[in-house]
């Protein structure tokens, strides 16, 4: 059933069961949020998405307000701006930023709204940090509770996306903080290091440890993961020709914001010093000697592409011509592109004349 309402003097059509926040979002009307995320169940705790509704007293949270026929909503009145500035100023009183992400070019949602509403602390006050930086030994998740505003998006992400229930809220009053398990290290609380909590965190209290202090990416390239067959997509963040972090891409068809530990954090092999960077051939091939699997003749010699490719072609062709195509085996790769696998199939069949081609599907 369509429901008609008015938001900021604009007629808006929504459907039953939607919230005012969802209806506004669908029509490109921005209502500021912190504890809300479209993938997670709403809790209505941060009070940033407050709106005014004609004939309703006070300011109500749009994330918990169902649409209704004839509703007249205002999202950005002077009173709302003032309230939001107050909400953000209160959050700032328990927020300290040690500055280590100031060069990463990324503005968190919290920083964005603080600037937008010009929220600041009362003159002459400056809160002291209360928690250690990097407060958990997990090798992937950076924990800095000095930046936590207790929005609980991490708690809900762990429950509702990963299904692991690592994070919870502990202690009382001004000591309230998020804790892993029964206040243990994350891994002891059965964390699987998927990084969902960090991906959904709006302040950087939880962040990607491998990427801290790596600076600002020149560009982001959306691609498909190299590990399992699920086909998750994400953005490789590149700086000076180096992958410095992986970030979720909400438009990924299969996984949305979600990734696993290998997809999100298993990328540093790309730049590992062990990478082969030039062709190598065994010395006996350059000296056209006999093949022996030891001694100097079996040493690797770095060579140029032409030499390596010529020897490869000559040897494969000679084997084919002497013993027939069936004396050659081709193993293609489940890690390589479709286009590359097609070429390996074409090389085996068309060029070498053999159906001896396979890959690791069975292993």
């Amino acid at each position: 059933m369509p429901v008609h309402l008015t938001i900021n003097d604009k007629p808006v059509q929504a459907h039953e069961g939607q919230t005012v926040l969802e209806a506004a979002c669908a029509h490109g009307i921005v209502i500021p949020t912190l504890c809300y995320h479209k993938d997670l169940s709403p809790v209505g705790s941060c009070r940033l998405c407050i709106v005014e509704v004609d004939k309703l007293r006070g300011q109500v949270a749009a994330c918990n307000l169902p649409v209704a026929e004839g509703l007249v909503v205002h999202t950005e009145t002077p009173a709302l701006v003032q309230s939001r500035r107050t909400v953000l100023s209160l959050l700032l009183q328990n927020y300290t930023d040690a500055g280590y992400t100031s060069h990463d070019g990324h503005t968190t949602e919290f920083e964005h709204w603080v600037r937008y509403y010009e929220a600041r602390l009362p003159d002459g006050t400056s809160p002291a940090p209360r928690y250690p930086l990097d407060g958990d030994p997990n090798p992937f998740i950076w924990v800095d509770l000095n930046k936590c505003i207790l929005c609980t998006r991490c708690v809900r992400a762990c429950e509702e996306v990963q299904g692991r229930f690592v994070w919870g809220v502990g202690e009382r009053g001004s000591y309230t903080r998020i804790i892993a398990g029964a206040d243990t290290a994350m891994l002891e609380a059965r964390c699987e290091s998927c990084g969902a909590c960090a991906a959904y965190c709006p302040t950087g209290a939880l962040d990607h440890k491998l990427s801290i202090r790596q600076g600002e990416a020149d560009r982001k390239v959306t691609t498909t993961c190299t590990y399992c067959g699920v086909g998750c997509q994400f953005d490789l963040n590149v700086k000076n020709g180096k992958v410095i972090r992986v970030t979720s891409n909400p438009n990924a068809p299969v996984n949305g914001m979600h990734l696993c530990v290998k997809g999100r954090y298993g990328y540093d092999f790309i730049h590992h010093p062990d990478r082969l960077t030039g062709p190598r051939v065994r010395r006996y091939l350059l000296e056209e000697g006999e093949k022996v699997l030891h001694g100097p003749a079996w040493d690797w010699v770095e060579t140029d592409w032409n030499t390596a490719l010529d020897i490869t072609a000559r040897k494969l062709a000679a084997t084919r011509d002497h013993y027939g195509g069936s004396s050659i085996g081709v193993l293609t790769s489940a890690k390589c592109l479709n286009e590359e696998n097609y070429l390996m199939n074409k090389l085996a069949r068309q060029v070498l004349g053999t159906h001896n081609i396979d890959h690791c599907a069975r292993l």
Binding site: W305, R349, H359
Partner: protein, 557 residues
């Protein structure tokens, strides 16, 4: 794949992960450690149980993480059957389904064949006998059958736990039988859903990276197909099936195979019986290896050609749900490395230039490609299921799952709707065969092998990822507490695990994930690789090794 092709005419996952996760009323996960091996899909299964009450039945000799979500409190059930008894378990369940009249009679009558012959064989394993052989309590068999039959649609999900057996094909066909019996095919939320391991194993199969088929599963033994590719490529082609990987490397031993061109694979780590593989590779006269790292296999290579990682090239991957997606270049190839398609192209051109093989001009005889988009054009010309796939469509944001039958065809999220690829679905009578190497007096413990969450296959990538090594930096063997007490082992105790092929020394992880009498090891680390222990007993049709059942002896070091 062979199993599903026989039953339905297509070997791929029938449904999409999204419709399975969102629409199945029940899941049957058998032989898939989904939350560790396909983690993002695994987490969606957990959410389906927690948030919308989908019922989960897990059957696995190991009490995997997902077993926590398959409990009566959630309307589900965990079955711990003995390794190698999958067929008996499935027949036992189908026996109960039939005797309760829970089968989908309309579906069976309208869309299948071979039912009568199949139904007769079900009588070989009444529930009591199935319970005795599988070790699953009788009442659990009845409960599981009820959950699976009365919640529709029900999706079956499996992986290597089903296929890596000498009866891998039979296991798969038994699951196909179950889904036809319950009429769960050709609908959202149902289907047969084998999860493919590697990111592009589906694509490598689709592209003819198999000894029996050209791209798009066109048989090499079909004369019509052979003539088609001879016309496309301008050469004469053989009409006999080639060797599989598990045959090819052993064929180096007696000289039937003399040269190998290996792209991005590490047989020493990933193939069964490592020491025999090493021996065979030593005998190979000429081995070209195209890789990104020196691997265990590179010790035997005559030439190493440096390819690139997924971050350094552009093209497509095909996921387990037949979804074709772009892989995009983010950084330039490191050093002197080159994208793999360029290397293969160069080798092909140089071999062709040497002459000696009759080639005539043909529409796709050449090797002049400007980029991978050109290659995809050729793929779509010769591969009916990719006929409508192009980089342009993908870059325009279209979401394509094959078959994509033409440039305007939207792709196919669910297979076998209304009709199976082969016409009627084929029920196959399946009998149980015990595993090739069961424990005995000398090797009294059953070893099963697989991967862990934090590592990938032979480990060439993940052993070079700092954080992953931080969490899981050495191999562990899973040992039941009862056995651990017998072997005087605690967490971290060094155990020697010995099979008829070899021996490894590895640290114990004492856990009830494995039942007494069974240990589980991985093959991520060269010195402690489980494949030093495994044997090359193969499924006679699929030629897949029986990695899941190996007889070993265990002792504290």
């Amino acid at each position: 794949m062979v199993g599903l092709t026989t039953s339905f005419g297509s070997g791929a996952m029938s449904n999409s992960m999204d419709d399975v996760a969102e629409k199945a009323a029940a899941f049957f996960v058998i032989g898939s450690n989904t939350t560790e091996q396909h983690p993002v899909f695994g987490s969606r299964l957990r959410q389906a149980v927690l948030r919308r009450g989908a019922k989960l039945v897990v059957a696995d000799p190991r009490r995997i993480d997902l077993a926590d979500f398959a409990k009566p409190a959630y309307g589900g059930l965990y079955l711990r059957h003995r390794p190698g008894t999958d067929i008996v378990l499935l027949i036992g369940l189908m026996h109960i389904i039939l005797h309760n009249g829970w089968e989908d009679k309309n579906f069976i009558a309208g869309r299948t064949e071979g039912y009568e012959e199949f139904a007769a064989t079900i009588e070989h394993y009444p529930p009591e006998k199935a319970s005795e052989i599988t070790g699953v309590p009788l009442e659990q068999l009845y409960q599981a059958a009820e959950i699976l039959a009365l919640n529709k649609p029900m999706a079956v999900i499996w992986a290597m736990g089903i296929t890596q057996h000498i009866v891998g094909v039979r296991n798969v066909m038994s699951l196909a039988n179950l889904q036809m019996l319950l009429g769960n095919m050709g609908m959202e939320g149902g289907g047969v859903n084998p999860l493919r391991g590697q990111n592009n194993v589906q694509g490598a199969c689709d592209m003819g990276g198999l000894p029996n088929v050209y791209p798009g599963y066109q048989n090499v033994t079909s004369e019509e197909t052979r003539l088609k590719f001879e016309a496309a490529w301008g050469v004469s082609l053989p009409d006999k099936v080639g060797l599989t990987l598990t045959e090819m490397i052993p064929a180096c031993e007696d000289g039937r195979v003399r040269a190998l061109y290996i792209l991005g694979e590490d047989p020493v780590m990933s193939d069964p019986n490592t020491s025999h593989i090493r021996h065979c590779l030593e005998r190979c006269e000429f081995l070209v290896l195209q890789e990104i790292f020196p691997s265990e296999t590179s010790a035997y290579a005559d030439i190493l050609l440096p390819g690139v990682s997924f971050a350094e090239k552009t093209g497509t991957f095909t996921s387990t749900e037949r979804r074709i997606q772009m892989c995009r270049k983010a950084i330039e190839p490191l050093g002197e490395t080159r994208p793999d398609w360029q290397i293969t192209t160069e080798i092909a051109k140089r071999i062709i230039a040497l002459g000696e093989r009759d080639m005539r001009p043909a529409p796709h005889s050449g090797w002049d490609y400007n980029d991978t988009s050109d290659i995809m054009s050729e793929i779509s010309a010769v591969t009916p299921s990719y006929a409508g796939v192009s980089h342009a469509r993908l870059e325009a944001g279209e979401r394509l799952q094959w078959p994509v039958k033409g440039p305007d065809h939207p792709g196919t999220p669910v297979l076998h709707v209304g009709q199976f690829t082969r016409g009627k679905g084929k029920f196959a009578p399946i009998d149980h065969i015990p595993p090739a190497e069961l424990p005995d007096d000398e090797f009294p413990v059953l070893l099963s092998t697989g991967r862990v969450l934090y590592h990938w296959h032979g480990g060439q990538m993940t052993r070079r990822a700092k954080g992953l090594m931080g969490v899981y930096g050495r191999a562990l063997v899973e040992v039941n507490p009862e056995d651990a007490a017998r072997w005087n082992a605690k967490d971290g105790t060094h155990l020697r695990v010995t099979s008829r092929r070899g021996s490894i020394e590895v640290e114990a992880w004492v856990t009830d994930r494995v039942p007494p009498g069974m240990v589980f090891a991985n093959f991520h680390f060269p010195e402690t690789s489980a494949n030093i222990l495994t044997h090359a007993s193969l499924d006679p049709v699929a030629k897949i090794p029986e990695y899941k059942i190996v007889a070993v002896r265990v002792e504290a070091v």
